[in-house]
Amino acid sequence: MKTLKINFKFFILVFLLLTKNANAQDFKVFVDKTKISISDAIVLTVLSNQELQVDLSNISDFKIVSSGNSTNVQIINGKYSKEIKQNYTLFPKKVGKLEIPPLKIIYKKQKSFSNPISIEVTENQISKDDKDSLDIFVKARVSKNEAYLGEHIIYYFDFFADPKITFTNPVLEKPKFDKVNFISKDIGKKTYSKIVNGKHYNVTTLTFFLTPLKKGKFQIKPSSLSLDIITNKKISDPFNNMFNNPFAINSRQQIRRQYFQTNSLDVQIKKLPTFSNNQDVSSLIGDILIKSSIDKNKVKLGSSANLSIQISGSANFSDIEELPVKFPSAFKYYKDKAKDNIQLGENGYTGTKTFKYALVPTKAGSFKIGPFCLKYFDVNKKAYKEICSQSFDLLVQKAEKDENVHLSNKKAVDKEDVRFISKDILPIKTDLSVLEKNTFLSFKSFITLYLLPFFILLLFCLIQKIYLKQKQSNKNILNKKKKQALKDAQNNLEDKDKFLNALSCFIVASVCLQKDKDELSFDELKEYLEDDKSKEIFENLYNKINQQRYGKASADMEKNKRLLNETIMMLKDIK
């Protein structure tokens, strides 16, 4: 009972604090300018949805004149809203950096305090450019100046404009992000009002989502904005002006083109720290939760149980196609296409990604499925983190009719295209064949080897030709010798020695020609004759010549003539 009372008191306290806070945030205090000359004045506005009691007594640096209240009531789509502006004109009493201290604001006996506002009061008039820079300015900022590779960064382009300033033709040169260093996506824009240093501004913020691709220090270059500011002319002589330009519309207004540029920003991208066992770490970077569910706790052999594993949070979910899941060996599993519900916003990619698996048991028994763990880089803790889902007990019962159910008897599973889970190049070659030398032929070597057989053949042909020519010349000599010997024999029929010498020479030359020999002695001739008949003919002829040579009879012209004719006839029959 005591605990209950304490809890109740605590609840009341929290409720009161929250209510007070809600009331405290229900008003805005701002000024129309923060830099004025001593002869100028500022308008202090307290904006709320109800009339408030404002205590201005502690403003000592300014003379205060109340400018009255204005009420603005709006009904949009049946929704009622009311705005009450309590205006006060403040005249500075001195030059320098003055301060409007925190104002006490009372509503229904509840006190709240506004923020202090500093005002710069100068002696001289404020220049137009100074005034513009106070009324309109642009700013660039990033969600973080240091990030890890793959961790997202949000780039903001803020455009601040005083609500009283009228402008037209705004041209924004969007920031150019180096495509090699970042992948950028335009998230969108939002418009809201904001009080900066006590001054009220309408703010338009453009947001870009950046994913760093390289490590190192990078500079995001400035973005720029140009617009036409419309201001009213101060007319000293309205009649003169009217006559000078009688047809001009809005001739009291003038347009000035103004240019604004943001600051450049430095971003440091760091390499992810190395993990002891790199293969187990997923490529996810962010803040992730994991949970799993199974549709049944009992399953029969051959039927399937469906398991879902869901990862949720803020991370680069599109980079993960598959979870590193392991199931007991008694199960065959078939994965379904992962479903995701991911949105891109200022917190990066947020949402869920669900991986579904159909588990088909091949053995009966009790099995533990899971837990399923995922290692990722936690950007908040700046370290690798392992998260695990719960595990399930699954009872596999034997089939009722046919206990020996084989998967092959079941309906064929839907086949899926094999897809790459992640991408990288294949490894380098490590075997010693890397050291094999190049076996290509250079152009010169190739041409040499190509023409070599041709030249060898040409050489053979030349040698053959020379050999044949040589042979032909020997034959010609023998032929000449043969003719000369026959001629000598015919001319020396009366001279025995000369006749017989010429006849021997004729016989040798004739046989040499016939047997393709360069030189033979008369005695050697017999060995080169082929058949017995030729040998017999030659022997007869040899004997007759020897009888004639060594006989005592003197030269007989008729006898010699007969011998010569016989020799010619015999040589024709010799083979």
Partner: protein, 246 residues
């Protein structure tokens, strides 16, 4: 005789020393690659290449190391060199296609030489060295048969014509390759971004831009400038040191 033995032993020892040096360099390169020290790995593999080990595998290793060192231009250059040396390496074809698809910024139509592909279709299946050996062997067989025919005349003219045709066909393909290497040089852009100019010197106007890993044809070389053709209608001059001939 002793001096001859001594010389032979010295020569054998010298050769072994060279082989050991190469093996050491290879081991150093592999170890550096496995420790993600890609600059050292490139250094070792390139030394091996310069030592005369100019096969497709060493080019493939160099290309992988350059890719890991995030130098896409040189990675593509060495993959192209590897492809010129070994045609049917599936690892090489996979890595080349992966790097070209995902990291080379310029879209380029694959240049298809229909005449070459039709006439010399076997080039897709056999390596350059094999093709050269076949051409030389067929040519040798043809001349042996011609010699036999001239001196003995015991061979049919049909065989002669078949071998003549086959030998000259292979030889023609090799000569065409040599011609292509000499006069149709291809090069790879190695700098991150390369401005192609209308002329050289200060008068050149930037015509278009190319990026690391893009293949171009070298048309003309003049001092420190090269005239390149990217694809039909896209021609211009670039500085010589921004591209490397394959």
């Amino acid at each position: 005789m002793r001096f001859l033995y001594f010389l032979l032993i010295c020569l054998a020892l010298n050769l072994t020393a060279y082989a050991n040096d190469d093996a050491n360099l290879l081991n150093q390169g592999l170890e550096a690659y496995n420790n993600s020290n890609y600059e050292t790995s490139i250094d070792c593999f390139e030394k091996l290449y310069n030592n005369g080990i100019q096969n497709g595998k060493i080019c493939y290793n160099i290309a992988n190391a350059y890719f890991k060192a995030k130098d896409i231009g040189k990675a593509i250059l060495w993959y192209e060199r590897a492809r010129a040396k070994s045609k049917n390496d599936p690892d090489l074809n996979f890595n080349y296609a992966y790097v070209k698809k995902n990291f080379v910024q310029d879209k380029q139509a694959e240049s298809k030489n229909l005449f070459y592909n039709l006439m010399f279709f076997w080039k897709k299946f056999i390596s350059k060295s094999t093709s050269q050996m076949i051409a030389i062997l067929l040519n040798l067989i043809f001349f042996i048969l011609l010699g036999i025919y001239l001196f003995k005349q015991k061979i049919s003219k049909l065989y002669l014509l078949i071998f003549l045709f086959m030998a000259q066909f292979f030889v023609a393909s090799e000569l065409y390759d040599f011609y292509q290497e000499k006069y149709n040089k291809e090069a790879i852009v190695i700098t991150k971004e390369l401005s192609v100019l209308s002329g050289f010197g200060k008068t050149g106007v930037e015509l278009f831009k190319l990026h690391a890993g893009t293949k171009v044809f070298v048309k003309e070389e003049l001092d420190e400038y090269v005239k390149i053709l990217f694809e039909e209608g896209k021609i211009g001059w670039v500085k010589k040191n921004y591209i490397i001939i394959i």
